[in-house]
């Protein structure tokens, strides 16, 4: 082998090694050395935003609320968009063009006049707490205290005949509420098992 050819082989070896080096730089960090960007999230950073609530009750705060308390808060904070009887309002002058009905609709889901409400459709009562906490009332989201949210949940669920008006909602009782449509969902099964659609 001539000297020149050896040099060519050496060059090829260096070139071949290059992509490996680049690869190591791009994906060589999992669990080990880190890109030195960003900063650790402190306990306070996380606490400020970590308000989500799961069906098993994880995330529910301390506090409680009753139907009576909820009835008053609903009248002040919710009725203008959702209606005095929780029947929903469609009005282009309201934010989002109005707000949906919260009760009614049981027994309609397999009909052409289906009506999807908290009472007839929502599978988890905890979602109601989570959603009101984060997004309601529309004009002042995040303004309701946990006691007020528990009270609103108690009022809406009782108006929908899901719980009794005497039941107090708190971190223990709320996850135990069984919604009428709890078993009304199935995981996505698409695509349909047919080769060609029509």
């Amino acid at each position: 082998m001539s000297f020149k050819l050896k040099g060519a082989f050496l060059g090829a070896a260096v070139l071949a090694a290059l992509p490996v080096t680049v690869w190591a730089q791009q994906v060589g960090y999992p669990g080990g050395a880190a890109y030195p960007f960003g900063s650790p999230a402190s306990e306070a950073d996380i606490r400020a935003w970590d308000k989500d609530v799961r069906p098993d009750g994880a995330g529910l705060p301390a506090g409680s609320g009753t139907y009576k308390q909820g009835e008053q808060i609903y009248g002040e904070q919710c009725a203008s968009c959702h209606g005095l009887k929780l029947e929903g309002i469609r009005d282009p002058n309201l934010p989002q063009g109005g707000a949906p009905a919260l009760v009614g609709g049981r027994g309609t889901l397999n009909t052409t006049h289906f009506k999807q409400t908290v009472e007839s459709y929502w599978p988890y009562a905890t979602t109601l707490f989570d959603y009101i906490t984060r997004a309601m009332p529309y004009t002042a989201p995040g303004s309701l205290k946990p006691d007020e949210v528990y009270a609103l949940v108690a009022y809406i669920l009782a108006e929908g005949h899901v719980i009794k008006p005497t039941e107090v909602m708190d971190a223990k009782s709320l996850p135990k509420v069984r919604m009428p449509n709890r078993d009304g969902f199935y995981i996505d099964n698409r695509p349909y098992p047919v080769k060609r659609y029509d």
């Binding site: 960090y29 960007f37 934010p95 459709y121 029509d198």
Partner: protein, 439 residues
């Protein structure tokens, strides 16, 4: 050929005639409402401008040249705009829908595959927040070894990625499943758009925080008034999810999530959480409102609802000719439209001009990108008779875009989301094009 020549000289008499006509389509086949007509009229009527107008204003269906009339050239001004504007003659715009919670992309006026950022559809659940990027942080926490927070500037330090991807609201075309009341393709299908999105792969960020064993779901949360939140399987997050900070080469538009948003290629728009501020890693789905009471697909055939139906399945729509246009006469037309699939690249698009009795293969404009709009074209010689134009897309999994009849038979009339049935446009002998329910 028996069709008139495309492009011809225009005379001042023709301009006057065009101005006096009461036709709804003074701007040709692309009626853009009163605004476009009014501005052109005002321009044409402007003193001393009539001759110049002949050189630069399209009056008929197809463009004309000045044929020796008009000035030699059009003197310009020194550029003084730091941030460009479109030509003053262009008036195409988004269309705000009921309640102002969304606006629709003018697909009928689009060409190619990229949606201009200013025309990208929008959908929001409590308005468009104004977020100072200097104040904004993305917090990643939960089942991780090292909770972290990132500013936009932090994200820009990481290795970046860019992908051209469609985002489609899963409620797009919902109304088309029940009626043909939407006159235009914008009204019926305008909740889909394609942009180039640039950001950091989420797999890169998750490697930084160290995901713990047993982690299976990630809660993605926005900082808008609705604090919109969705649960995403961690497999998707590690596969191709992007935390994007740029759209079509510049910062993301406020209505599309400025300063950062989640991009989940091929998945329904709602889960591409905008104004992203928090990712919480957990072991179960969080069952937020947007994945239980909304964005689930009620089958009125059974009363049961499909949940976690994230993928947008293959779909196509003809954008030209489409509803509310008028063909000026028989002859050659290039039928054109968009096709896309959240599951796999588009394999083929077929076009029918007889309401689905016979189909021909459309040509696909390269590049055919996975999970992006694909532009298809189909040459057509209109003989002046009634015609029904339809398109159907097939993706590389073999999935074929279904008919409305198939979807209604299998799902009933309940699903508000994921309607991807074939769209029909009817052409009458007078050239008018309208939305019709598929036979």
């Amino acid at each position: 050929m028996d069709h008139p020549a495309i492009g011809e000289a225009v005379t001042e008499t023709e301009i006057e005639q065009a101005l006096q006509s009461d036709c709804d389509c003074k701007d040709g086949m692309f009626p853009q409402g009163k605004m476009g007509t009014a501005s052109r009229r005002a321009f044409l009527r402007g003193s001393g401008l009539l001759t110049a107008a002949a050189a630069i204003v399209p009056v008929k269906a197809f463009g004309q040249d000045a044929a020796g009339e008009g000035p030699w050239s059009v003197p310009g001004e020194i550029a003084k705009s730091d941030y460009g504007q479109r030509a003053s003659f262009e008036t195409v715009k988004r269309l705000a829908s009921f309640g102002g919670t969304s606006s629709l992309t003018p697909l009928q006026a689009g060409v190619g595959i990229i949606t201009p950022s200013r025309l990208h559809f929008e959908r929001h659940h409590n308005g468009v927040p104004t977020i100072d990027p200097a104040q904004h942080r993305l917090v990643i926490h939960g089942m991780v070894d090292k909770p972290m927070k990132y500013s936009v500037e932090d994200l820009k330090r990481f290795p970046s990625t860019s992908r051209i991807l469609f985002v489609e609201c899963s409620g797009n075309s919902n109304a088309a499943s029940r009626s043909a009341n939407q006159k235009t393709v914008q009204e019926a299908h305008g909740l889909t758009s394609t942009s180039e999105w640039t950001g950091v792969r989420l797999s890169t960020l998750l490697a930084q925080v160290g995901v713990k064993d047993g982690a299976a779901w990630v809660l993605a949360e926005g900082s808008d008034g609705a604090m919109l939140s969705r649960s995403v399987p961690i497999d998707k997050m590690l596969d191709d999810a992007i935390v994007a900070y740029a759209q079509n080469g510049e910062a993301i538009r406020p209505e599309n999530g400025y300063p950062m948003r989640l991009i989940l290629p091929g998945w329904e728009g709602n889960i591409n959480v905008k104004w992203l501020r928090r990712l919480k890693i957990g072991d179960k789905p969080f069952m937020t409102r947007e994945e239980t009471s909304k964005y689930t697909d009620l089958m009125t055939t059974t009363g049961k609802a499909r949940q976690f139906s994230w993928v947008m399945e293959a779909k196509s729509v003809i954008t030209f000719p489409s509803g509310d246009m008028r063909l000026p006469g028989k002859g050659f037309y290039e039928i054109s439209g968009l096709a896309w699939s959240g599951r796999a690249p588009i394999e083929r698009v077929e076009v029918s001009t007889d309401g689905g009795k016979s189909w021909g293969l459309a040509s696909l404009q390269e590049p055919v990108l996975p999970k992006a709009h694909v532009r298809f074209r189909f040459p057509w010689h209109w003989d002046g008779g009634e015609a029904v134009l339809e398109s159907r897309a097939t993706d590389q999994t073999g999935y074929v875009q279904p008919t409305k009849a198939f979807l209604t038979r299998n799902e009933g009339v309940g699903p508000t989301y994921h309607y991807n049935g074939i769209q029909s446009w009817k052409v009458l002998a007078d050239g008018s094009v309208s939305n019709v329910l598929q036979a």
